[in-house]
């Protein structure tokens, strides 16, 4: 099982590199994020960067100890978000959202957003990496 996953990655990685040759900071999911570390956070949007090839959403998350941490989540490309009806207005600063995704391998407060739950209850798939797990464990 583990072996076959590695083989899949071996095939997927060069393909992704080829696909991303003109992109900046464009990478495979597995290059930066850990598929074994699912994360679910609820917070208040501080900034949405609609930048190719990956957008980033930043939100203030209040921990159990009351401490507020600013998290950054990698999103899909701006056009794919637009197709799903996600714009700067949808995720304006101050908007409360819940994100299901995976943590960065670095262990810092960064992650990859697979789905985002908007204030109106709509759940949007926001991750765009071709090798990303489709849904984190527990969702």
């Amino acid at each position: 099982m583990k072996l076959s996953r590695n083989i899949k990655l071996a095939i997927a990685l060069p393909a992704l590199l080829l696909a991303s040759i003109s992109a900046y900071a464009h990478h495979a999911f597995s290059a930066e994020f850990d598929g074994e570390k699912p994360v679910e956070v609820t917070g208040v949007v501080t900034k949405l960067e609609l930048i190719n090839p990956h957008s980033w959403l930043y939100l203030d998350v209040k921990g159990a100890d009351g401490k507020v941490t600013n998290w950054g989540f990698e999103f899909g490309a701006p056009f794919s978000l637009k197709e799903k009806g996600v714009t700067k207005t949808t995720l304006a600063p101050g908007t409360k959202v819940t994100i299901n995704g995976f943590r960065a391998k670095s262990g810092k407060d960064f992650g990859y957003a697979v789905t985002t739950t908007l204030p109106d209850g709509r759940i949007v798939k926001t991750g765009g990496a071709q090798d990303a797990p489709t849904a984190p464990a527990g969702t």
Partner: protein, 259 residues
Amino acid sequence: MNSHLNRHWSPLLLVAAMLVSLAQPALASETIPRLANGKPDFSGIWQTTSAADYDLEPHSNRKDTPPGAGIVEGGVIPYLPEALEKKKKNFEHRESLDPARKGWTLGVPRAVYYPEPFQIFQRQADLNLVPQFGHSVRTIHTNGTDHPKDPNDWWLGDSRGYWEGDTLVVDVADFNDKTWLDSAGNFHSDALHIVEHWKFLDNNTIAYKATIEDKNVFSRPWNIDVILYRHREKNFQLIEDYRFTLDYDQYYPPKPDNK
């Protein structure tokens, strides 16, 4: 005596005056290249000879920088105090932080005065600017449209141009904050707003001016002024200079059998 001299000299003076008038170049506006609709045609390959990209402000030489008089009107960029601290840090660590050194896109206006050529392809509805460095194409729309209502944070911003006589005026907005203004750490936020003026000085020279505004970084709008020259060397062309992928070259073409 006087009249003798006059008699002698006046025909010569007349001839000299005629020669001067013949040598007088025609006005630039009469000879500059134009599109079918009469607007100036900036198509061609252009480059600055200034040291602007090394540092927009006046500077003496450094180990990695030739000296330059700078292209900032007044000589100093009016930073807000906090932003000035960031600029100093950028400068100190420019070797590792400069986006151009990482092979990223140059952004606007940096691609205009970066020390490599860029090519303009112009039509009535738009101009497309292709810098030799990096992979990017900047479109300046000249079809009367305005910035989009629902913008992205673009690497090159969104450029909308219009004509004031023979001057192309371009309003550029909707940037991200990932590019720099030069290699000396001068930077901007995503609130950057630029108004450019492009004008022919003669057939082979463009006067480029820009007003740079960013409420998060600068205390007031400031101006830059640089001259661009047309490349006229025989067979001159852009040669791809994309450095971001150089580190990956060793993996291509793929060698699946590890041979």
